[in-house]
Symmetry: C2
């Protein structure tokens, strides 16, 4: 998608601001930024021009899937990127859903052994 605006933040970077207690900071860093796996809130914003068939564009159920397929093929004579913005923000495990936390525990345990 050409030039991509990119932004990633670990959780520790967010909570550092305004923290006066160093002990709390260190604890958070130890708990959250050390593991290789983490939960991220991701946002993708893409804008592009596309030559497409009418029946694809007006198919509400499949449009997103088709557009993502088109993007995965990259820029060509059918697709011209206009803007791309991707952000990933690490969240503390406890803010994730129970299902995700369970999966995270499972994955971390399986990589430890």
């Amino acid at each position: 998608m050409g030039e991509v605006y990119w932004s990633c933040k670990p959780y520790a970077e967010r909570v550092d601001h305004g923290q006066s207690d160093d002990t709390v900071d260190n604890n958070l860093e130890g708990q959250i930024t050390e593991p290789e796996l983490a939960v991220y809130t991701c946002e993708i914003n893409l804008k592009f021009r596309l030559i497409e068939e009418r029946q694809v564009i007006y198919n509400r159920d499949q449009l997103l899937e088709r557009l993502l397929d088109a993007i995965s093929c990259g820029a060509d004579r059918y697709l011209e990127p206009i803007a791309a913005d991707v952000q990933a923000l690490e969240i503390p495990d406890l803010e994730a859903s129970p299902q995700m936390r369970r999966q995270l525990i499972l994955l971390r345990n399986s990589t430890d052994t």
Copy 2:
């Protein structure tokens, strides 16, 4: 991606408002909305939570591609959709780039024969 906010507009629908000259409207419709192929400005906005490895998230060059790969697998224990918004707005051929217009002519001619 679960519930997708979806919006599509043909060019004619945009220019109809405030038009007082019926002849112009008819001409535009005849030129722009009849062909099966058209150029669209598309916008995709996706927000989701993802379990991912740190080295993937902090790889600026590959993050977008990896996130799109993750989305194409659908929601599971690794990915939870938060919001999805997809919009497609038909633009008049003359607003497209020369490369796209050439491709459009080529495609329309090839489907006519």
